[in-house]
Symmetry: D2
Subunit: 259 residues, 4 copies
């Protein structure tokens, strides 16, 4: 299937590894120019080189922390005319709600809600003028099914979802779509790290915690990052202009509620 992405300019936040990298790779494979972004120069370089070796598309490296104004400026300077923006970022570790405090709330709201919104603000008007734009936010299955140990993660993400939904109804008529991908349990480094924290909090070994997770999943397996990347590429496709304002879960059918 031709996704019509050849030559499109894609900013992919937090894309030096994990699901962000998987999205960048799928977009690069389809011929889009992609920006690899991360805070660690070596990791960004390695990820970029991997893409350059496999695909013809141009890869741009931006070592920057998108939760700061300077970081966002750098990211936005990658292209004069960005066509695609993938909102992504790390997440906080699990912590019981009663142990959160005002400071940690300000930090997570800035990183996971305000920062991506400011990125959207910076690109959306140009996209509307050029009559093409694809914005995809990588959020979490917890937007639909919030976990008490992850309030710092799902609160800003649901807030972000709410803003994106409301403004998408105004952008879609200019062929600028905004959608969210809601992952649950992919084989990424972040998964490994969360697994360790969860194990510690629940007083279990990592192996026990992993087995518990797999048993608890309807699919009985973790998702593969490349499955995620392809879903992202599809939402960015030229022919996906009628898909807008959607929360697409990639959770192996795990969510029990009506979606």
């Amino acid at each position: 299937m031709d996704l019509g992405l050849n030559g499109r300019n894609a900013i992919v936040m937090a894309s030096s590894r994990g699901l962000g990298f998987a999205c960048a790779e799928a977009l690069a494979r389809e011929g889009a120019n992609v920006t690899i972004n991360g805070r660690n120069a070596e990791v960004v370089r390695a990820a970029s080189d991997t893409l350059r070796e496999s695909y013809d598309s141009r890869v741009c490296e931006v070592v920057a922390d998108a939760s700061t104004q300077e970081g966002r400026k750098l990211l936005l300077s990658a292209y004069e005319n960005p066509d695609i923006l993938i909102l992504n970022g790390g997440g906080p570790p699990p912590i019981p709600f009663q142990k959160t405090d005002e400071k940690v709330w300000q930090k997570t709201l800035n990183e996971t809600l305000t920062s991506p919104l400011l990125m959207v603000q910076a690109v959306i008007e140009g996209m509307k003028k050029r009559k093409f734009g694809r914005i995809v936010a990588i959020t979490s299955a917890m937007v639909k099914s919030p976990h008490p140990l992850m309030t710092l993660s799902h609160a800003p993400r649901t807030g972000l979802t709410s803003v994106l939904k409301s403004i998408s109804r105004e952008s879609v008529k200019h062929n600028v779509t905004i959608n969210q991908l809601l992952p649950e349990r992919f084989e990424t480094e972040r998964h490994r790290s969360l697994l360790k924290s969860t194990a510690k909090l629940q007083n279990k070994s990592v192996e026990e915690a992993e087995q518990d997770i797999k048993t608890s999943l309807a699919s009985g397996r973790l998702g593969r990052p490349e499955e995620f990347g392809d879903a992202c590429a599809f939402l960015c496709a030229a022919q996906s202009g009628y898909i807008c304002g959607q929360n697409l879960m990639l959770d192996g059918g795990n969510y029990k509620g009506q979606s």
Copy 2:
């Protein structure tokens, strides 16, 4: 993007025109064998020929009414091992709830709820054994936002959605996914026909009714059937095995609620 559908056997119900045909075409383009189904032999033949002229995949014609036991039997005899099942069917005309009666309810529930369920029953165990299956139901945006003139349409479709969601949690571990596509306002013959009925009920000209619709849509345009077909093909892709139990709206971002 390679969807990994080459040689897969796809039963597409009510596929001689409209969104069903668009799904069949996208699947055929990706190399799947497809069954074209409808009640009118000439229309089925014409649709099949159109696909044969453009694509190499095998096209099988089944003139049958899937709301009858014989019709379903015929459809199911097309392949020994079906890999893909697209649930689709015509819908009732708009009618105020107070004018519906017991008989018309029985008819619509049989056609739009029980019949597709019996099709699923017939194929799902084989899919699970063979470790591959993709079931996509074409429902309606009204599953999320039900209209009082269309109770005969959205009641069976929401019931169908409910059953599919519940059984999908058991099939996904065998790589059998079940998802729904929720269209709103595509340029199809059905759209034309509904438009006429609506216009009549609202005492308007067809042109006025169409203009009202476009103005009321966030995207300001109707969807194109080929956009719908590509979304269907993507959900059927080999790499979409982690997408299950989803209601994906194709409504040009029109729905105002959180999805």
Copy 3:
């Protein structure tokens, strides 16, 4: 709190025991005239007597099966001007989807979807004319979180919900509200009976099955029918005219999704 229900006429379907009886009792306590309905004359009589002993309101007995035309006729003859209609009915036993057949689907769709709709059809226009009406459907938490063993129950109930939602937007301006109550795990005879079936299907003792249920519930306890009845009475209150089209779960906070 005065609910303003004194002298209102309430038809409560399937109210000789369980949640239906609890609703009838709460309405009677608030001064409404209530119809006790069931298929067993002795049980209907006993339930009616219980209410008559405790409350001053008039109690009318209707021994009738509301899934038949004659049954509905009898029920509707109780009051010339019904003000309140509580939709309720038994539910099917748990059964795996693959074991359901066309006949059993027709039966459950008639009993749990078409029959209540025909009751609504019969009363709603009068309510609109008289500028007061309260319709409450007792459905199930499975409308939000459908279970694969209970497809015969949640499919018709979600279909019913869809119709009620769509027509409620037209009735509310006449002070006729329609809402749904979604119970999960109340201490009723139906609970006991389902427990036995589930235990059998899962090859467990009833005690084990019950313990599994309590452990699985967020609240750690079953709901009390009188809690349910009071919620129903509140939705029927004079001052609840701005609450319409709602799915109110009474599940002890068990559902994990955003509601």
Copy 4:
């Protein structure tokens, strides 16, 4: 109906007028002790006196801005053992998303998300120990149907909802319930003020804007604050311990989506 609230201690935030006052009044009428809170001493005094004249319950005045640490401290000092907490606060004026900036986002997130969460943190453990607690957040219908002019309002409120839902599953087993009330279009001063802003933004007269609103509402009328107060009192009732994690809309049936 006896709500079992006699002698309960209720902190009602932002309760000197509007929906907050209506909640305080309904709770006081049911015999609860209530805290009237606002930033203007005269308004707080007047509201408190109104309650004292009509009801026997004790009324405590707290002039404080709950978005500050000192303000929250004052509010929390009202009772040693609070039983009920009503989360409420003013909302930002309508403003297009593109005109929002980092500073205004920080302000709204602090006021409407972090501050209420810190209030919950302060009271919930005590409630759990004492085996009774009722927390009700007054949010907005826009949690379900977000408007592009109100991103500063619905983003923090959806985030708040997400946190409350997740922690409610842990508190309910201690008879501490958490629910949300989602108002739309009540006859309050806030309504008047929003109406003016909207009118200005849409270049209309206030009368035109009001007429547009009424015409757009399914119920054809605005809600009355006392209807809202009674719904709040019902959620706080002793017999409402099995209602938890719910989003109850009070919107006159206006929302078109499945709720």
